[in-house]
């Protein structure tokens, strides 16, 4: 705001004869430039949100003719629905596996890769490749990799004498398996963010630490790297939480919520209710529950980053 104010003062000073006209022109230009974005914002975000809110209070079904107000019944139904409770639990469990794996794993790799000079770009490519690959296509490959009889993973397990595991068709392992694939997909992304954070740490801090007798790798990590990476870690943590909470692709392609509902996640249920069963009102309520979690995660980030600025 102050920046804009000073700029308009400066422009007024530069063109004294027509201050009023220039300001008017600036206002009209600003409105004109912002208008397409504002219209699209209305049409693709705000209006749909309002419609979604209305729908969530009704029993509307897409394609049906009549619609009644049901108040908060959809929300009550959702919170009491065992299927939704299970899918919410599964989603949080998925997040609880992907977040530590994806964040700590990426941090470890980034710290190790950061100091490499000749091999750094090789490792960067290797770890980043899954980020750019089409997850749906790679999911098919993973399915084959983990195949109980044909897959090489089970081949290795058998060779080690462990015996084969039906990773994706066993209720006890399916969700964890999807979570490992989730980590595989986003590890490189997080690693790049950590590498950027590491590059921003001034080198002389390490030299100063050397002089102070703090020269062990772990010492240096705990006294310098970890505290200075705080904001980066916070950012990576929250984006990973949000990404993991939105898990859908691997579920839709590899397990479709099975076996026996062990991989049903919230977004998959939203999709089923909204676009397969067309329980539109109910799905709208589920969408708001989904959004509530996303907003909580985002709020955590805003709050934490605000705190970091002051230290």
């Amino acid at each position: 705001m102050s920046l804009a104010a000073s700029s308009s003062i400066a422009s007024a000073a530069a063109a004294p004869p027509s201050i009023g006209r220039r300001l008017l022109l600036e206002r009209l230009t600003g409105l004109g430039f912002a208008m397409p974005a504002f219209v699209l914002l209305m049409l693709t975000i705000l209006l749909p949100l309002a419609v979604l809110l209305v729908l969530s209070l009704s029993n509307y079904e897409f394609g049906g003719v009549d619609m009644d107000w049901v108040g908060l019944a959809n929300y009550q139904k959702a919170l009491a629905d065992p299927v939704i409770r299970r899918s919410l639990w599964n989603t949080l469990l998925y997040v609880a596996i992907v977040v530590p794996g994806g964040v700590l794993g990426a941090l470890l790799i980034a710290v190790l890769v950061h100091r490499r000079s000749r091999t750094r770009s090789l490792y960067e490519v290797a770890y980043f490749l899954p980020v750019t690959s089409t997850l749906i296509a790679m999911a098919t490959v993973w399915q084959f990799l983990l195949h109980p009889t044909l897959g090489p993973v089970n081949g290795v397990l058998k060779w080690l004498g462990v015996g084969s595991i039906a990773f994706l068709s066993e209720p006890s392992t399916a969700l964890a398996t999807l979570a490992v694939i989730g980590v595989w997909q986003l590890l490189g992304f997080n690693m790049i963010l950590f590498l950027a954070g590491l590059t921003a740490i001034p080198r002389d801090l390490y030299e100063a630490a050397d002089i102070d007798g703090c020269s062990g790798g772990l010492d240096r990590f705990l006294t310098i790297t970890w505290p200075l990476l705080g904001p980066t870690t916070m950012f990576v943590l929250v984006t990973t939480m949000i990404t993991a909470f939105k898990v859908f692709d691997t579920v839709a392609v590899m397990t479709r919520g099975g076996p026996v509902g062990s991989t049903e996640v919230l977004l998959y249920n939203v999709y089923l209710e909204g676009f397969q069963y067309f329980h539109t009102g109910y799905a709208a309520a589920l969408t708001f529950i989904f959004l509530a979690f996303i907003l909580v995660f985002s709020a955590v980030q805003t709050f934490a980053l605000d705190k970091k600025v002051h230290y």
């Binding site: 206002r27 914002l41 081949g155």
Partner: protein, 293 residues
């Protein structure tokens, strides 16, 4: 200096000892990194290996990293015959290109207005942009679907692109960039009679090239790989982008013809992976810039 957990000061430091310690540390670091890299790359290697194996070798219990009989041509031909894979890839290009062009045309003037112009409603708009950052596309999806269905626009390229025409993220990113553009240059241009329109596109936009390139990479990767929205609005296989096409193909391929499946996966994964290998720095800078705001 290697990342050793050991404390060098604890032992008498002779050159030979410290060199040995460094060597062991280095070996340990590379061992960890290589083990991780194997985990990351294994699916790609296995995809390529399987795509050139004959069925008999795919279905045999022994693991081999190279086929005894080269069967690549047959697998890739089956994949290309059974599904319009190149069409899926073309759809992906049209989808990403269309979305990106509109995103830039809409976001750049808006970001400039937010950064450099004073107009009524500016602060409200910026707050709305910040709010929009927190709302994933899955939230407005159902009302958008109903609207597109009412308009008879399902199963069109437009329906696939429409929800993404506005990128609040692009507005946010470009606004940050434009704010640091020197006001003096803008004023000088105004005094020279350059129109505001030209200032945006001829003077300010070129200066934000790194941000625009970063955003373009980000946008293309996101929409090339997106499944959720195309799955909802597209049922016509001719319009499917790569992920949806792969899903159709995998569903149709009931005989678990893994050779053809992995060949299809390789074809659909290739464009982005090759683009990444060529423009590696752009991709990595893109993530850095779009991530650390």
């Amino acid at each position: 200096m290697a990342e050793l957990a050991l404390h060098p000061a604890a032992a008498p430091v002779t050159p030979a000892r410290s060199a040995l310690r460094r060597l062991v540390g280095l070996a340990l670091v590379h061992a960890i990194l290589l083990a991780g890299a194997v985990f990351m790359l294994a699916p790609f290697v296995w995809m390529l290996v399987t795509s050139i194996k004959p069925p008999a070798e795919i279905f045999s219990a022994e693991i081999s990293l190279w086929p005894k009989q080269f069967y690549g041509l047959q697998n890739y031909r089956v994949a290309l015959d059974k599904a319009p894979l190149l069409r899926f890839a073309l759809n992906g290009v049209i989808l990403c290109g269309g979305i990106l062009v509109v995103q830039l045309l809409v976001a750049i003037p808006c970001a400039y207005a937010l950064a450099k112009l004073r107009f009524p409603g500016r602060n409200v708009l910026f707050v709305l942009v910040l709010l929009g950052l927190c709302i994933p596309v899955q939230v407005p999806a159902m009302p958008l679907y109903i609207a597109l269905a009412q308009l008879g626009l399902l199963n069109t390229y437009f329906s696939m692109m429409a929800p993404f025409f506005l990128s609040v993220f692009a507005i946010f990113l470009f606004r940050q960039f434009f704010r640091s553009f020197p006001d003096d240059i803008i004023h000088a241009a105004r005094l020279d009679g350059v129109s505001e329109f030209e200032i945006v596109w001829r003077i300010v936009t070129p200066s934000a090239w790194p941000a625009i390139a970063a955003f373009s990479v980000f946008s293309a990767v996101a929409h090339w790989n997106d499944l959720y929205w195309p799955l909802i609005v597209i049922s016509d296989a001719k319009l499917a982008p790569p992920p949806l096409g792969m899903m159709f193909f995998a569903d149709a391929e009931t005989g678990s013809n893994y050779g053809a499946l992995t060949a299809a996966a390789a074809i659909l994964t290739a464009p982005l992976v090759i683009a990444f290998l060529i423009a590696r720095r752009r991709f990595i800078d893109g993530v850095t810039m779009t991530g650390v705001k």
